[in-house]
Each structure stands twice: as C-alpha cells, then as structure tokens.
C-alpha cells in the first residue's frame, strides 16, 4: 500500500483540481446564506471612532454584573482579565468569525502547525459538533451522500445525518484508515452506473472514532488524491489531534510534532478542517476553530452567526488570555502533560488486555484518542450476545453496531465493541478489562457446553 506509484492518468497530488468556485459545492441553504444586514451593520461600524451607533441591539456594558474575572489553572498559572477584556467577555460577538484576538491566534496556529498550501480563512467555532452540523448543512441537501469509513462517529449518524436525511456511504478501512483503492473503486463504479456520488468525505484521521486508527502521511496523500480526482470535499474532523501517544517515540510529541494533517497537503483548497479545544483543554468551553476555502469559511461564519450569534465570548476571552500567558511553550507543556496521561491509560489497557483477553478478543494498542476497537472472538456473533453477562459482571462498552453507517443490523451481526479507556481511572480500566475477560470466558464456556 505504501510507496505505490501515482495513477497512470497522471493526476497525482490533485494538480489541476484547485477549487475556484465554491458555489458549485454548496447546498441550497449554503447558496442562500448571506451575512444578515443587521449583523453587517454591527460588524462594519464596530470600533470606528466618531460614529454614533443607534443601530445595534447590544446591551449597555453598564448593566453587566461583572467588574473582574480571574481564573486559576491546575498548573499554577493565574489569569486575570483587563477591564476591556472583562467588558468584551460579557458582550455579544462583534465580529462574525469570533473574538478577534482569539481568531488571530487561531490563524497563527493554523499557519504554524499546518502551513496550508492553498488560500484559506479561519473562523472560531462553537465546538466541532456544531461546526460539523453547520458545514454539512452548507454542503448537502436532503438525500445527498457523505462518504466515510464503514464504522464512524455515532453522534453524527444519530443526530445530524439521520434527521437531515443525508445518505452515508461506508468504505472499507484497515489499521491505517480508509483504503484508497477501495474508495476509488467504489466511486468509479457509482459513476459508471450513473448513481449519485458523494460530495464530501468525512473522516476523523487521528484516533478515529470508533476504530481508533491514525492515518499516516503517505496514506493521507493517497486518500487526498482520490478525493481530488473525484472532486470531493474533505471534512477533516480532528478532535484528538493533540492526543497522540505513539508507542515508539522519544518523549511526548507536544504541540509541534503532531504530523501532517489533510490541511497541510491541501493544494486544491478542498479541505474543511475542524479543530476543537474540547479534548485538548475541556469540552465544557464549547469553542473550536475551522479552516477552509475563504468563501466557505465566510458562509460558515454567516451560518454560525445566524444560528446562535457565535461562540460564547466569555470563554473566547478567557481562552485567549490563557493561550497568551502560556505562549507556545506553555501549550506545548500542556499537550505533553495530557499526552502522558492518555499514554498511561492506553498502556494500562493494553497490558491488562494482553494478560486477560489474549485469545478472547483482538485489538490494536491505541496510539491516539480515547478508544480501542475491540473485536470479540470466543464465538461471539454480535455484542448483543454478551449483554446479559455484561450486566451480570457490571461492565459496559459501546456496541460496535451503533457506529456502523447503517446503524445496528440485527441479521448481520457486529462482534465489535468500542472501549473508551480514557474517561476512567487506571484502576477502573483494569477492572473493566478483567470483567470483560470474565464475560467472554463465561460466554465461551456456555457455548462449549451446548
């Protein structure tokens, strides 16, 4: 798979497939999205001296209750907002793409960490779930297709694509992600049969949910090339990018050695990258950032602003101050700290599993994210076979079938489970694995006595 030659038709690296007109990729909703007149007025006149603003419905800062905002961090750092920051933190967003200092930080981060080759723009988001919801709404009409791995992020299926009526197109994958040849073949066949083609590839390339793989650089380029050939946009949803802990690495990766994203190889301008502070810092903050073709980012921020008036400014101001005080060094330190925590949990899982589950299940040691994709052996046809025993032994996992693009299919059977090793303590991981082993041994014994 690795080192394969470029396709004979010479269209490697997506050359000649640069996106010039974003309109043709947009859904009906996406095409109709404009910045609202009221928002435009507010954005236009914010910060301009000598203007008497009778236009906006922004509440007066005199009515805000807080005069000071201070945070203390686990690492000992103290954050204290200036009086301007305190006011900004309590007010509505005055720009469509987020609190300007944080948006500037995000632009610099994107440049520093990905150096995208094509024109792009960055917007702060209300977290990647909402960003995904909005992006798919801008690109897809009801009935349109999304291409993704055969097992994918269950929340997206349940809460976005299902209700919105987007069709999911599952493709086979292995330990390194989607298999490019399988994807290419699938697309070619559909084109030949004149079936509708997907407009978007959705993937979580690091610590994929649920299958937990990481797509290495060479495979990424191959996947990118297939997308370029078939003119798909790539939604790169990367919440675990900073949570990498490869088995063989000298020291933790920090923030500077996280590898090449799809965005970093995006010569066409077809990647929409979703970054989030949720797993890197904390989910309760509901803040992230999006990078895409400038026109798509513009539509995104109109849609986000139209949806909820943007991410909460309070968190944006606090986050920005925190990132300033930390500097890149501090962020690097923080990433190394959490990578260490996840590594220890992953190692505990893997070592306990080797002791307890060998012969009863198959898995790969996770190298990123929060999940292990466990395949039950011991004659298990579907996770459901184990339900009663799991209740009895007091252990739970997520049934693999809920992650399948077509949802649970009772007649097919899905002997996988998604194990989250990262939401619990080391002891809980050990206990959980031991109980799972007991479940499987009991199941196996019961099968043998039949």
């Amino acid at each position: 798979m690795s080192g394969s030659a470029p396709e004979a038709n010479g269209s490697c690296n997506g050359a000649g497939h640069a996106i010039t007109d974003i309109e043709k990729y947009l859904s009906t909703d996406g095409r109709a999205r404009q910045s609202g007149s009221l928002s435009k007025l507010i954005f236009k006149f914010t910060g301009i001296p000598d203007v008497v603003g009778f236009h906006g419905g922004l509440p007066t800062a005199e009515a805000f209750p807080f005069s000071g905002i201070k945070f203390s961090l686990v690492d000992g750092e103290q954050i204290s907002l200036s009086s301007d920051q305190v006011k900004a933190a309590q007010q509505y967003n005055v720009k469509g793409d987020g609190y300007p200092p944080l948006q500037t930080w995000a632009e610099e981060a994107v440049q520093k960490l990905h150096a995208p080759p094509a024109d792009h723009a960055v917007s702060i988001t209300t977290g990647s779930n909402h960003a995904l919801d909005i992006v798919l709404g801008l690109l897809l009409d009801r009935g349109d297709h999304v291409l993704t791995e055969e097992f994918t992020y269950p929340h997206m299926v349940d809460s976005i694509t299902g209700p919105r009526g987007y069709q999911l197109w599952g493709v086979s994958y292995d330990n390194h992600g989607i298999i490019p040849e399988a994807m290419d073949q699938s697309l070619k066949q559909a084109a030949a049969e004149k079936r509708p083609l997907p407009k978007v590839l959705y993937t979580v390339p690091i610590g994929q949910n649920p299958a937990s793989f990481c797509i290495p650089a060479q495979r990424r380029q191959e996947i990118y090339d297939v997308c370029s050939r078939h003119d798909l946009l790539i939604v790169e949803d990367d919440p675990y990018w900073a949570i990498q802990f490869p088995a063989h690495s000298d020291g933790e990766l920090g923030v500077h050695r996280l590898g090449e994203s799809f965005l970093s190889m995006d010569t066409d301008g077809r990647v929409v990258r979703l970054d989030s502070f949720a797993k890197m810092l904390a989910p309760g903050l509901r803040v992230g950032w999006l990078t895409a073709h400038p026109e798509l980012t513009a539509r995104f921020s109109y849609a986000m602003h139209g949806s909820c008036l943007g991410p909460n400014t309070f968190m944006q101001v606090v986050l920005h101050q925190m990132l300033m005080q930390w500097g890149w060094e501090g962020l690097d330190r923080h990433c190394k700290r959490i990578q260490g925590i996840y590594r220890r949990l992953a190692d505990t899982f893997h070592e306990t599993a080797q002791e307890e589950l060998t012969g009863l299940a198959e898995w790969e040691r996770p190298e990123a994210g929060m999940f292990v994709w466990l395949k039950f052996l011991a004659g298990v046809h579907d996770y459901d076979d184990l339900l009663n025993l799991m209740l009895e032994q007091k252990v739970t996992a997520a049934p693999g079938s809920i992650c399948h693009v077509e949802g649970p299919q009772p007649d097919v059977g899905c002997p996988w489970a998604r194990i989250c090793f990262a939401a619990v303590t080391q002891d809980q991981v050990k206990t959980g694995v031991q109980r799972l082993a007991k479940v499987l041994r009991k199941y196996q014994a019961a099968q043998q006595t039949r």
Partner: protein
C-alpha cells in the same frame, strides 16, 4: 468509585427532568391540547434518543459498573482549577469546589442542562409565570434565544415551510433563518400594542383561501418588540391566544426584553413582580414555546437561556440541541447557577433587575427628550416602556433611504425599518421607519444624533415643499474628517452586500 458520572445526575430515562409541577399531582387535560404529531416536521420525527446517550445516562450513578462506553474525557486533563468573579458593588464570587469546576469543564452529563441551573430556572419560571398545570411545561437549558429559535423552526416548520410573524420583526429571523431555509413568512399587521388579533384572523383566512399551506406556528416578540418597542398587554395576549387555540397554532414566545420593562416616569421600576404577564402564563394547552435568555438582563457573552415548553416538543428540542452544540456551555451554566444562588441569598437578583431597568429607563428618557425637543412635526413615535428600541416614522419621507445616506455621512447609524420588515431587507413599497437603539449611545451622542436627524428631515421637508422657509438657521453639526472617511457609502448598506472577507 467506578462510574465517572456523579450520582446526583442520575435520571430515570435520560430525558424527563424537573417538571414545573410535581409529577404526582393530577394534571387536568385541556380540551384544546396540542396533537404534536401534526406539528412536528419530518426531521423532528426522525430524531430519537441516540443509543450512546441512552447508555451514558442509563449507567450514570451506578457506581459499581465499569463504564467503558462513553466518550467523555477524564477530568484530570482539564486546565481550570478555580474561578473568581468580582461583582459591581464590591462583592465577589469564588467557584473552586472541585466537583463544580469539573462539571463546568465537562460535557453536559444531563441532556436538559446543568441540574443546579435548571432547578433555579424551574423555581424562577414558576414564580414569574405560574404556568397552568394542564400545559405540563418542562425546562431545557439553551444557548440563548437565537439558537433556540433555530431549533424550534427545525422541529416545527422546516425548510420550505411557513410561519406567521409580526409585520416588522427581528431582522435576523428573516435573513438568517427564513430566507436560507425557504420559509414563507406571513407578516401580520401591528398597532401600538403589537400584533393585531383581527389581522391575525385575516392572515389565517387569506392563507386558507390561497390554497398554499396554512401556517401552524406564530413567532412573536411580546415585550419591547423588536423593532417597534410595543408591549402586548394581558387582554391583547388573551385575544391572540384564543385565535391560536381555534386555529391550532403553536406560539413561539421570544421574550428577551421581558425583564427590561421600565418606567420613565417618577415611579419605581417594576422589578420582578411588576412585569406584564406572558403567553406562558395563559398556556392551558401547552402550545406556547417560551424562549427566555440571560442575554439582555444579565450577560450576552455567556450564550445562555432556557426554553419552557410541553414535554413532547422539549424532547425533540433537547435532542436537536444535543445534535448541534452537545448542550449549552458548561462553564456558562455553572457561573450563572452560582451567581443566581449568591444573589438569591441576599435578594439581589431583584436589585440587579431594577438597576438594569433603571438604566434603560434613563436612556429611553434621554432619547425621548431629544426627540421631543427636535423632531416635532418631523417624525412620529410612541414612547417605549420596555426593551432598547425607539421606532420612529419619518414624516415627509416615503422611505428611510431618502435620508439614510446623509445620516451615514454625518456619522449617525440607524437601522432602516425595511431591514426589519418580514419581506426585508427590500420589501415592496417604501418604508418610512427607522429603529433607533438607546442602549449604547451617550446622552451627548443622542442629542447630537437627534438634532442632526432633525436638520436632515427639515431640509428634506423644505425640499418636498419646494421652499426654503423651513430650513433651520443652524448648519449641519461639524464632523471630524476621520468619521467621514471611515463610513461606507449607502450602496454598502442597501440590499446587495459587498463581499466582506473573513465574515
């Protein structure tokens, strides 16, 4: 402890929560109760409780279970340890209880929002509105009213659907929701008290006769209406509610300025006890979806509000909210809950609300004084008693655009009324209204702005009369060159926007 989900967040089915009434009390059924099956969109019907969420909630609090199913990050990685908020007036609020600080940074563990906040909201909403028990209302914590409106539209109207609204309404609703989703708006005429009952009946009649789909949802802003400033009294609300019962219309009560009711006269501000009754307070059928927000009376930057609505619709709204932002921001919820608790202990919420009402009252009074002294015979308006807007009809103008360019050049920015029309931003026919907000400008700026407007209107009136008799002796107030250079031309404010990079 084997579960990562604290026991106090356990809920029996993951959805039902703190009902406004004790569940064991007998609930009388309304004869005009809503049949939700006929109101929910196709998308709403496709929403069901996600399996994973059911798993997470189902095993919450069961300490003996080794829960390896959920995707919640472990609290040991969270960066924040404590928060201190200094309040105006000198008090301060410290949040450093480890569990609370953890909750603030974690995903929402209960679908309907952070329990301590929801409990406060439940008690407060009961006290303010005394919702009729037959409505069976329940509470959902939201991201504020903009997003909640989008969520309700997705579940009740849908792309290509239709909806009733006030003739002039919140511009955002038209441009950012209705237009992109192809939703047909039926605008209903208003008077000084807001939406007119007869006009509502007529609009329904017209819709039925036209043969196209009949609207089943009314979007209404009953207090400090945006943009007209109107406040609907109880009798007006009763009349409209009755029509909605007859026509089986769901009422989306968008009430961000509810707490910003004020008195510009010498008396006391209304506080919390003297506020106009809401549609929720009349809602025997459970057909009102009331949207409340912390944005105007507290802090817009927290992006937080709550929805009070019948459980069947609440379930759908909750799942939609989970699908969008995975619930409201945790830290915002914790901060707000702690602040409310802190204030409650000292009766300070009432004091804060009165203070805010007083501020808006003074601002309104200031703008009205300027209007009274400069604009007699040039414009017409009704003095507002709530919200932040003064809605003004310009005399001698067929459309506000007649004077907008000059206003912009003078550095005075107002909202042309056409932007707020339900067929905006460029409705057919002229729109001689402007909306002026009194929430930000200083008193000097108000005086300057209104006198400039007066000068421009007098010049216009003179032009219209073809004589120079009415020209004011004073010249246009002088302006800084920087202001002239900075303001965009009129075409950038008209219906065809330029491409604004980065927005």
């Amino acid at each position: 402890m084997l579960s990562d989900v604290p026991a106090r967040f356990v809920q029996s089915n993951g959805v039902a929560g703190a009902k406004l009434k004790n569940a064991s009390d007998a609930v009388p059924q309304s004869s005009t109760a809503v049949d939700w099956a006929t109101h929910l969109t196709a998308e709403a019907k496709l929403r069901s409780q996600p399996t994973l969420r059911r798993l997470v909630v189902g095993s919450a609090g069961k300490h003996e279970v080794a829960g390896l199913h959920g995707g919640l990050p472990h609290p040991s990685i969270f960066p924040l340890e404590g928060i201190t908020l200094h309040l105006k007036g000198g008090a301060s609020l410290t949040i450093d209880d480890p569990q609370t600080v953890t909750d603030a940074q974690q995903y929402n563990l209960t679908s309907q929002g952070y329990d301590p906040l929801r409990e406060w909201v439940r008690v407060h909403t009961n006290e303010q509105h005394h919702p009729p028990p037959s409505g069976q209302h329940d509470i959902l914590i939201t991201n504020g009213n903009n997003h909640t409106f989008e969520v309700l539209v997705a579940n009740l109207v849908g792309a290509g659907g239709c909806m009733l609204c006030e003739e002039f309404t919140y511009p955002h609703v038209v441009e950012s929701v209705a237009v992109p989703l192809g939703i047909r708006l039926h605008g209903v005429a208003m008077d000084a008290e807001g939406l007119q009952p007869d006009a509502l009946r007529q609009a329904m009649q017209n819709a039925k006769q036209s043969g196209s789909s009949v609207p089943k949802v009314l979007y209404i802003i009953p207090t400090g209406q945006n943009p007209t400033g109107a406040v609907s009294g109880l009798d007006r609300k009763k009349a409209i509610y009755q029509i909605c019962q007859e026509e089986d219309i769901i009422i989306l009560e968008d009430d961000p300025y509810y707490y910003l009711q004020f008195s510009t006269g010498p008396g006391e501000q209304p506080g919390l006890a003297g506020l106009q009754p809401s549609y929720l307070s009349l809602d025997v059928d459970g057909r009102v979806a009331r949207m409340d927000t912390f944005s105007k009376f507290l802090v817009p930057g927290l992006r937080l509000g709550w929805l009070t609505v019948h459980p069947e619709l609440l379930l759908k709204a909750c799942m939609t909210l989970q699908g969008a932002t995975v619930g409201a921001c945790g830290l915002s919820q914790v901060i707000t809950a702690e602040l409310m608790r802190h204030w409650e202990q000292k009766g300070q919420l009432e004091a804060h609300v009165r203070d805010v009402q007083g501020q808006y009252a003074r601002r309104a009074a200031c703008l009205l004084r300027a209007a009274d002294s400069h604009l007699q015979g040039l414009a017409e308006w009704v003095a507002p008693t709530a919200g932040m807007f003064l809605w003004m009809r310009l005399l001698h103008c067929s459309d506000a655009d007649d004077v907008i360019q000059q206003l912009v050049e003078a550095g005075i920015i107002v909202l042309p009324g056409r932007v707020a029309h339900f067929q905006g931003p460029c409705p057919p026919g002229g729109c001689p209204f402007i909306r002026m907000s009194f929430s930000k400008a200083s008193s000097a700026e108000m005086e300057n702005g209104i006198s400039t407007l007066a000068w421009i209107l007098r010049a216009r009136s003179a032009q219209a009369n073809g004589s120079s008799k009415n020209l004011a002796p004073t010249a246009l107030p002088s302006l800084s060159g920087a202001c002239r250079a900075a303001t965009p031309g009129m075409d950038q404010m008209a219906g065809n926007p330029p491409v604004v990079p980065g927005l």
